[in-house]
Amino acid sequence: MDHQAHLLEVKELKTYFFTFEGVAKAVDDISIHLDKGETLGLVGESGCGKSVTALSIMRLIPEPPGRIVNGKILFDGVKLLDLTMKQMRDIRGKRISMIFQEPMISLNPVFTIGDQISEMFILHENCSKRESWERAVEMLRAVQIPSPEKRVHEYPHQLSGGMCQRAIIAMALSCNPEILIADEPSTALDVTIQAQILDLMVQLKEDFDAAIMLITHDLGVIAEIAQRVVVMYAGKVVEEGQTITIFEEPKHPYTRGLLKSIPKLQERSRYGRQRLQEISGIVPSLYELSPGCSFYPRCPESMAMCQGSVPELVDIGKAHRVRCWLHSGH
């Protein structure tokens, strides 16, 4: 464990949803960190709490039904969970930005692209209206949208999905945030567009010097741009390590399953996309989790003890951690 301060550190975060069906422990005791300039991949099948983790960091959990019941989120030494809403608003968009999965519906249909981007400069940098429009054009240029002077005056429905996502990335990066949380930024797009968006993000990360938390259910995407990977399952971290370690020595049966679902990794065309459907069984409902390891019912290597209690996340060297009875060294 290093004792250097991380840029972002999430400690023992628990975000629960209190619904009529019961309590959904969407995020259950998660600790992750992100360093300056780093790209972290957060992977897992859909429904395992990736978005909720991201929204918790932004403090955008819909309340009710959701609530952050426990944990600490340290950003540059500041405890985000202790901030007032007003202080939090100075961080959102300016120091931590977030982009969402569906570009076509993430922009407001009744305002122009320029209006929505320039809003960032007016809000966070006290720019005049004219100056912020000029800077909006510059941002559109930076994300390689052709003829940006024309595009600023257009409405979201006049842009394609890929263009919308570029505009959203432009908006998210406009105030030079230290962290960009990208929640499945390419999932909703065509395969070719997907690759372009990922390329763009890799390039912009250099230009804007932001740390990226890339959320995806596609390990193939992670392989391309993340240095470190956190694998989530049913609200818990099940494995964590350097991308290369995770790809070469996956320890958790779930991670192995995810990896197997990517056919022929080495030759895999970078434009390929594979949904993670090949692990047998389905993600359990968060309302009916068993007391033991939540992957137990689907696990090919399950043992009797897996049913009894949840294993700890143990460090097995080289910053590689895994939560599995196979590796708990008992």
Partner: protein, 321 residues
Amino acid sequence: MVTYITRRLMQGIVVLLAVSFICFIIFRYAGDPVHTLAGRYATFQEQEMVRKAFGLDKPFYIQYTRFLANAAQGNFGKSFVTRVPAFNLILERLPASIELATSAIIISFIVGVGLGVLVSLQPYAMRNRLVMAGSLFGISIPTFLIGILLIMVFCVYLGILPPFGRGETRMIGFWRTGFLTWSGITHLILPAFTLGMYQLAVLLRLTRAGMREVLTKEYIKTAWSKGLPPRKVIFKHALRNVLIPVITMTGLQFGELIAFALVTETIFQWPGTGNLLLTSIYESDQPVIVTYIMLAALIILSLNIIVDILYAYLNPKIRYD
């Protein structure tokens, strides 16, 4: 956009022609105008004279085209009762109706939309549930009852507002206005609330439902994630999307409030067109009735067209197609 507007105008003209035809039928065949004009005790010769003098002996299509030609110039004949042109009679009353309808629509828009937004932010709070229950009353209680209740409370018990009439008015050109005097304004409050109550309740419910839906949209999540204050997220990003149907609704109702405020105008003795229509119906004053119907159709149609254009303007998806 231009073709769109022309098309709407053409449609409007067709509808107006249809209305005029119905009006003509009423005018000509709902009771024999000769009897009305010549009086019940006229001799046969006298009746024939009237028939000739008014062209009532001409074939149907000639009578109709003459009716149309006259109508186009605002000439619908003289009132049977007062012997002044029916059009002037209505024009004189129109400002009162327009001022009443305008006040009603402004009150219902501001209060309805404002409350709708507030209620949508905490839909399950007790007081907001009460507001919603109240809005059901606004929709289901008949206008005359609302009017009478308001008069009872504010005029009879509290005695702070006048129960009838328009109060003092001023003339601006041909327009008689009540907006410029204190008495005119106090006289306006109760009838405007009565007339606008239904509309207020409808707008409140429409706004609440719209806001509830829009607030869950992805682009609202984006707005929050930008660090915008609640004021901006709610009143700029969310409300602007909700306002499209709300403004359409308001505009469409406005014409009806001008044209069909009969009940409210009667309760409050408001000297508007609705009151005039009612007396004209009692007295079978067909020229006035027909003029009224034509004018009402014209006002409602024009407002519909304006609303359509406004709708296209507010909604970029239509504006740019």
